[in-house]
């Protein structure tokens, strides 16, 4: 618990996620083929690749919503291959979804409070008896939730229904929801989709601050500027196969990566 924040900026944290030989086959299509990758505590790793490269399929397997056809997923030293989503969630893997996904008819504050399920213990029974532990937990939960809303620039929207937020606010609320579970590993699926450059810049700032909180981040993203400015390391998928891995500066100049993104030969500009 104490170690995570100390390792936050270190590149050499312990291995938190280790994926080996991960494969997913849909009928005759191999969406992800034999992918190996690791993520270390405190890193921000970007997962990039053209449309249909298998990024979301890989994400779905890591989040537990889709069992792999073969291969293994180890999270924090435990084999999690094929564990259902709520088990991955309980163990500390939170995710956001490509299409906006929140609790639409709850208030912003209740969105975050509902999302903090994993961090609380006193439930219905304690609420009926109004035990001291329950009241303490609820007060603490509200304080934490408001802090998190402030962190995501949503504090003045606490009583608004999630449905009534603007698009940019909804995307920030999604991150607040994922963080409310106090994850060890945060999977962000195209968080910048549909954002303008200014909102994108805000997102970069936010991801940096998430890392400072001691949360490891794995990010699927199409906006190269965002990926390049926030990630320590990139993993590139093409047709379900890992074709490159390394620091952004190196990977984004890799001729093979340029070829899959731009098509055919690298262009001398």
């Amino acid at each position: 618990m104490n170690g995570t924040s100390m390792n936050a900026t270190s590149m050499n944290g312990a291995e938190i996620l280790a994926v080996q030989g991960l494969t997913r086959i849909f009928g005759g299509l191999t969406a992800v083929r034999d992918v190996d990758m690791t993520v270390r505590t405190g890193e921000v790793v970007g997962l990039i690749g053209p449309n249909g490269a298998g990024k979301t399929t890989l994400f779905n397997m890591l989040g537990g919503s889709m069992p792999p056809s073969s291969g293994t997923i180890r999270f924090d030293g435990t084999d999690c291959t094929g564990a259902p989503p709520h088990v991955m969630g309980q163990r500390g893997v939170s995710r956001t979804f490509q299409i906006t996904s929140l609790f639409p008819s709850l208030t912003v504050l209740d969105n975050v409070r509902s999302a903090a399920y994993r961090t609380t213990t006193a439930g219905w029974g304690a609420a009926i008896l109004r035990t001291a532990a329950f009241r303490r937990q609820e007060a603490e939960l509200k304080r934490k939730a408001l802090d998190l809303l402030a962190f995501c620039d949503l504090e003045d929207r606490a009583d608004t229904l999630a449905d009534a937020l603007s698009y940019g606010e909804q995307r920030r609320l999604e991150i607040a929801i994922a963080l409310a579970a106090e994850p060890r590993l945060l999977l962000l699926d195209e968080p910048a989709a549909g954002m303008n450059p200014e909102e994108g810049q805000r997102l970069v700032e936010m991801i940096r601050r998430i890392r400072e909180r001691g949360v490891t981040v794995l990010l699927v993203e199409h906006h190269m500027r965002i990926v390049a400015s926030v990630c320590d390391r990139l993993v590139v998928l093409d047709h379900g196969v890992k074709i490159a891995e390394g620091p952004p500066a190196q990977v984004l100049n890799d001729p093979e990566v340029i070829r899959v993104y731009l098509g055919r030969e690298p262009v001398d500009a």
């Binding site: 609790f103 008819s105 208030t107 219905w124 609420a127 229904l161």
Partner: protein, 328 residues
């Protein structure tokens, strides 16, 4: 604060009401109102908080009614003991049926509950050795707690009122706790809820079993009050009535089902003057409510409060709570 005062006023009004009724028939209607309120509150846990529509709820009311009725008429068990056993029996049926049916969601779940409900109805109707079939069970003794017996409508009204208040409190505690927030999260967005560590299936099963236990309790009280029960208690009319009560009042709230039950009982009586047109007018009113007030009657109050707030104060946040208004 205003919330607490309103609550206290409402409870006081409910306590005084039977003394103003003046005749036994009105008191009987009041008792029926409370019974429907109790059953609707239990159904609301599934429809309002979990967001799943069940067509099987009346079957669990029937299981509770038959359990307590048979225990008291066949084995001579005091009704006070039959009451918790009725809740347990209904909850056991709820556990088994919920375990099977909650694997699917949406319309498939609804159809499955309809099927299970019909099975229970058919068994009750045909197992003549046990249930006396369509003839039903009669001469059921009245509820008694020690020297207190609940034979009159007024006495029964107070008995059920106490249960309604208790269940209302349970629901209030639920939605303001971790457990209830998990219910709402599952209703709003099950995949997201799962990704946050909430076991969607277990959460739904818990809500379903609690709802069926309360339904069984309500059924038992009904049996000891009316003294005669037939398999019709499990029929489709009862299923429809309870769903209507929850939706008209306002699903996902505590006041809603209680208010909906009042409108249902009151309107059916008031429309008696219309003779055979009664059910037609009733159906039209219901349809109108669903079309123009999808949030139920309580949404009128929420709508009024929102505009009222907007007139008086600075633009306040959207003040429509989807769960029970959060009193801190």
């Amino acid at each position: 604060m205003g919330h607490t005062v309103g609550m206290a006023g409402g409870v006081a009004a409910l306590c005084v009401l039977p003394f103003l009724a003046g005749n036994a028939y009105l008191e009987h209607l009041l008792a029926l109102w409370m019974l429907y309120a109790l059953l609707a509150l239990s159904l609301n846990i599934v429809i309002g908080y979990l967001g799943e529509l069940t067509f099987g709820h009346a079957a669990f009311v029937g299981v509770g009614a038959y359990t307590s009725a048979l225990l008291s008429t066949q084995l001579g068990l005091p009704p006070l003991l039959g009451l918790p056993l009725a809740a347990v029996a209904a909850a056991l049926f709820g556990l088994v049926i919920g375990y099977a049916a909650l694997r699917v969601v949406g319309p498939q779940f609804t159809i499955l509950t309809l099927g299970f409900g019909s099975i229970l109805y058919t068994i009750t109707n045909n197992w003549v050795d046990l249930t006396r079939g369509p003839m039903g069970i009669s001469d059921i003794p009245p509820m008694a707690i020690g020297p207190m017996t609940f034979t009159s409508a007024r006495e029964t009204y107070f008995l059920i009122l106490a249960l309604v208040l208790a269940v209302g409190f349970l629901c209030h505690a639920l939605v303001n706790s971790r457990t209830g927030r998990a219910f709402l999260a599952v209703r709003e967005n099950a995949p997201l809820a799962a990704s946050l560590g909430i076991n969607v299936f277990h959460t739904k099963l818990l809500g379903f079993v609690v709802a069926t236990a309360i339904a069984g309790l309500g059924g038992a009280i009904y049996a000891h009050y009316i003294k005669v029960i037939t398999p019709d208690i499990m029929g489709v009319q009862n299923v429809a009535a309870l769903i209507i009560v929850v939706i008209i009042g306002g699903r996902g709230t505590i006041v809603g089902p209680i208010l909906g039950a009042l409108v249902y009982i009151g309107l059916l009586e008031a429309l008696r003057v219309a003779g055979p047109l009664r059910m037609v007018i009733f159906a039209a009113l219901l349809t109108g409510t669903v079309v123009f007030l999808p949030g139920g009657l309580v949404s009128l109050w929420q709508r009024w409060r929102t505009t009222h707030k907007a007139d008086n104060n600075l633009p306040a946040g959207n003040g429509v709570p989807s769960a029970e208004g959060g009193a801190e």
